[in-house]
């Protein structure tokens, strides 16, 4: 983060659910996170690893079972009622599906106006120009305010969702797969818009994505999650150049278009991710690890002890007992 001020900080965040049959699922299990001003922080990992839950927990959309969220130096957990809502609103979210994120029975202008007036007194006369200014900021014409969401395409809807988020003047936005459900060209425009807003407004993002190519291009730092825990974190160029956790290596090797097929095959992980209801002991990755106890039975430590975060470079942290053993081959394609 290069000494810049921290906007949002999560400390030892935990989210646990109960399944229908009463078992406990630890969806997010002790995650620390720090996002600086103007930073785009990538969050990657396979589906079900807790990325979305972590993003929602930061905003209080799912209840935390442990840990603290600190926004601009204020511990959210110590606030109640209106002040809590106001502090939380400094964080906003852009959802994956632009089809579900807009109330179909509310005009676009009304939805944005509602957000504008949520925490500030805005006179009736001021509302319309400010709604139009927000629409302009996301590249939509003023007339869009008078229409219902059904009148818009996916990309336009995503712009509306961004305008609504901006209406409360946030400092930090969780973009949860914000471009994943859009056509590539449309997604590209939305991406450009998000990055442009970062530059203009000094916004910070938690950029949740399964598309490593997109993350590599926009993110300043990247966090890799596996089964509710952080396994690796580094500056984006460092992470993509020299990943130190075997899971990160596998994730990068599997990404389409980075390596020839033979390389991808060689790095494919065996088995499915284990159930978070009943996670493995020690390092949660050991049953699938290419350098773990399934390959080398002498490495019992992986099965017995949770690997502590280890610093392997400047701001490069890995949770692995044997970091850096698996290395990516030099990229051949691209």
């Amino acid at each position: 983060m290069n000494g810049k001020e921290t906007v949002v900080r999560g400390i030892d965040l935990r989210v646990a659910f109960r399944t229908e049959d009463g078992r406990r699922v630890r969806a997010v299990d002790g995650v620390d996170l720090e996002v600086g001003r103007g930073e785009i922080h990538g969050l990657v990992g396979e589906s079900g690893c807790g990325k979305t839950t972590l993003g929602r927990a930061l905003l209080g959309l799912v209840p935390l079972t442990g840990g603290r969220v600190i926004v601009d130096g204020v511990d959210i957990g110590e606030l109640r009622g209106r002040r809590l809502r106001r502090a939380r609103a400094r964080m906003q979210m852009i959802f994956q599906s632009p089809w579900g994120s807009l109330n179909p029975r509310m005009r676009v202008g009304t939805a944005i106006a509602e957000a504008l007036r949520a925490h500030r007194r805005v006179s009736r006369a001021e509302v319309r120009p400010r709604v139009e200014a927000l629409l302009a900021m996301v590249g939509l014409p003023a007339e869009a305010a008078d229409r219902y969401p059904a009148a818009f395409s996916g990309g336009q809807r995503q712009r509306i969702a961004i305008a609504r988020a901006l209406a409360v003047e946030p400092r930090f936005i969780v973009a949860d797969e914000a471009v994943a459900s859009l056509d590539v060209s449309v997604g590209e425009q939305i991406l450009e818009l998000l990055v442009g807003l970062r530059d203009r407004l000094g916004l910070s993002y938690l950029f949740i994505s399964h598309d490593l190519g997109v993350v590599e291009r926009v993110a300043d730092r990247v966090t890799v999650m596996y089964l509710g825990r952080v396994v690796e974190r580094a500056a984006a160029d460092e992470l993509f150049r020299a990943p130190a956790h075997p899971y990160t290596v596998a994730l990068l090797a599997a990404a389409p278009g980075r390596f020839p097929r033979e390389v991808r095959r060689a790095f494919v992980l065996s088995g499915d991710p284990p159930s978070p209801v009943d996670p493995p002991s020690g390092c949660v990755f050991w049953p699938r690890c290419p350098v773990g106890p399934t390959v080398d039975p002498s490495r019992t430590i992986c099965r017995t002890e949770v690997p502590p975060p280890t610093t392997v470079g400047d701001g490069h942290v890995v949770a692995c007992h044997f970091p850096g053993e698996v290395r990516l081959p030099d990229p051949v394609l691209r």
């Binding site: 929602r56 905003l59 209080g60 959309l61 809502r85 106001r86 939380r88 609103a89 964080m91 906003q92 979210m93 959802f95 599906s97 579900g100 994120s101 807009l102 109330n103 179909p104 029975r105 509310m106 509602e114 957000a115 949520a118 925490h119 939509l140 014409p141 007339e143 869009a144 229409r147 219902y148 059904a150 009148a151 818009f152 395409s153 336009q156 969702a161 609504r164 988020a165 209406a167 409360v168």
Partner: protein, 284 residues
């Protein structure tokens, strides 16, 4: 940018027109409703004026449907009675709709102990056959318009509550509701501006079908002497009255029966039509 020009209202009307059966239902129902509302204004004969000289008169220009055993004009009695029956039925549905879906909406939104309490009460009410429950309430509270409304609406509450709760539970997880929380809107605003408008569709369908059932129950209570009281005409009461002289004056049984049947048919077809309009089932 391209923007579609059709409004929501326009497409709803279009969908309604497309299904002929639904359209017929709406026509039948509006026919009945207009008849009982406008009819008494045009046919200004007193429905309770007794004329013993003209008992059981055959249909004529003076009495298009004939007269009953006390010489009262049957057309006037059907028009006024239909008005009373429909009013009481619709009123009881409105009561059940407001309180039942209100409880269900809140129940699904806040969950927790409130939800459990509401749903257990609904289970208890659902354990009784609706008509039986209505009979018990009507018998306990005595006859009359207000008590009939109460008797018919209470058994209808749990269905509205359950249906609305299911909608409320589903809608509260939608991303636009999460976005509303994230923006920091008040819970009341989220409930009434974001959850409610998107949850009402199926309940309106249920309301229409419940109105058909309510017509039958109001007439049933009237038939059993537990509903609206004489001399105020009411279709069920007219039916029970006239069954004793069925063979002498068949119109006295047929006419109220036809009005009851047409209203029930109309309400049910309207329910189907609303289902199409709101696209209930496809989840949008």
């Amino acid at each position: 940018m391209t923007v579609a020009t059709t409004t929501r209202r326009g497409t709803a009307w279009h969908r309604l027109r497309r299904n002929r059966l639904s359209f017929a239902g709406v026509l039948v129902l509006s026919g009945v409703v207009i008849t009982v509302i406008v009819g008494p204004l045009l046919w200004r004969v007193d429905p309770i004026a007794i004329d013993l000289a003209n008992r059981l008169a055959a249909p004529s220009a003076l009495h298009p449907l004939g007269t009953d055993i006390q010489g009262r004009d049957l057309l006037a009695r059907i028009l006024h009675g239909g008005r009373v029956t429909l009013f009481v039925a619709v009123a009881s549905v409105v009561v059940a709709l407001v309180f039942g879906s209100g409880a269900g909406l809140l129940s699904g939104f806040v969950r927790g102990w409130f939800d459990t309490a509401v749903m257990r009460v609904a289970d208890v009410l659902l354990a009784f056959p609706p008509l039986l429950l209505a009979l018990v309430i009507a018998a306990a509270r005595g006859p009359g318009v207000a008590n009939t409304i109460l008797a018919v609406s209470i058994p209808a509450l749990p269905r509205f509550a359950r249906l609305m709760r299911a909608q409320s539970l589903a809608i509260r997880e939608r991303e636009y509701v999460l976005a509303a929380w994230a923006v920091g809107l008040s819970p009341l605003r989220i409930l009434f501006r974001h959850v409610l408008p998107n949850a009402v569709g199926p309940v309106t369908v249920q309301a229409s079908i419940a109105a058909g059932i309510a017509v039958l129950e109001v007439a049933g209570l009237g038939f059993l002497g537990l509903g609206v009281q004489p001399p105020s005409p009411e279709l069920g009461a007219i039916l029970v009255d006239s069954q004793t002289y069925l063979l002498q004056q068949p119109t006295a049984v047929l006419a109220p029966g036809i009005v009851i049947s047409l209203s029930i048919l109309g309400f049910n077809l309207l329910g189907d039509a609303l289902g199409d309009v709101f696209d209930v089932g496809s989840g949008s």
